[in-house]
Amino acid sequence: MVLSVLLIVSTLIFGLGILAVVTRRNAIGMLLGIELMLNSVNLNLVIFGRFSERIADPLEGQVYALFIMALAVAEAAVGLALILALVRKFGSVDADAAGTLKG
């Protein structure tokens, strides 16, 4: 039961992260959604490392989660730098404001 509950939790968090990315117009809100999705993936890795019979060492799942965590932090830093540049250029955090490439 614990395994199913945890998998459902991570799936729901992933779905809500997608919804945050899709429906928010504020670029920072979209980054929040991306963080949610990365967290749910991390949770999944740890769950399968803990519960799967096929993985010899449960620590391997945690090491993968570790890598993703480091990359997620770097991604948040780069994303916020991009948003600051966006604000300098267009004067707004609205993702729709950056429409220069629109034909």
């Binding site: 039961m1 614990v2 395994l3 199913s4 509950v5 945890l6 998998l7 939790v9 799936t11 729901l12 968090i13 779905g15 809500l16 992260g17 997608i18 919804l19 899709v22 429906t23 928010r24 117009r25 504020n26 920072i28 809100g29 980054l31 929040l32 959604g33 963080e35 949610l36 967290n39 991390n42 740890v46 490392g49 803990r50 519960f51 060492d57 449960p58 620590l59 391997e60 945690q62 090491v63 570790l66 890598f67 965590m69 480091a70 990359l71 932090v73 770097a74 991604e75 948040a76 830093a77 780069v78 916020l80 730098a81 948003i83 600051l84 540049a85 300098r88 004067g91 707004s92 955090v93």
Partner: protein, 173 residues
């Protein structure tokens, strides 16, 4: 070895907190409330890590995410001009399309997990809790032995990300 009912209750409470925090993150009207809800979700996930025997990841989650990323987001919110309305404008149609599509995707994934685990709401085989005497040593041994190349590539990636973030966010003359 079964799971005590107290443990199950703690799992359920943490799961509920995580889901409600994620829900509020996605649908809060004010962005700052959304960040606070994200903090709740991150904390609950750290609790789940602790309960699953991944103490190292739980500590890192608290340090990096709740301590680092959330502060980064708060700074980002304070440094950018506020918007009045954050949602999609009247285009409620596309809003509904997004919600329905994501709902379908989530159901699909839940069914995949259903087939993977074989049983849905029944008691699943719980492996006895693996206790590590030297968990940190084991993780560092894995990092410096089996995962050495990804580890080094990751450090280069973080360096590039730092320099790139500074370059992108610099003041242009």
């Amino acid at each position: 070895m079964g799971v005590s009912s107290g443990q199950t209750a703690a799992f359920l409470v943490l799961s509920l907190l995580a889901i409600s925090g994620a829900f509020y993150t996605a649908f809060a009207n004010k962005l700052f409330h959304s960040v606070l809800a994200l903090l709740l979700t991150l904390g609950s996930i750290a609790g789940l890590y602790f309960m699953m025997g991944a103490e190292f990841l739980g500590v890192l989650q608290i340090l990096l995410y709740m301590g680092g990323v959330v502060v980064l987001f708060v700074f980002g919110i304070m440094l950018t001009p506020a918007r009045d309305e954050d949602r999609l404008p009247p285009m409620v149609k596309w809003h509904m399309v997004a919600i329905i599509g994501v709902g379908l995707l989530t159901t699909f994934l839940v069914f995949i997990f259903y087939y993977y685990t074989g049983q849905f709401w029944h008691e699943i085989r719980i492996t006895p809790r693996i206790t590590y005497d030297k968990m940190f040593q084991d993780i560092s041994a894995l990092l410096t032995d089996k995962f050495l190349v990804p580890f080094e590539v990751l450090s280069v990636a973080i360096l590039v990300a730092l320099i790139g973030a500074l370059y992108v966010a610099r003041k242009r003359e």
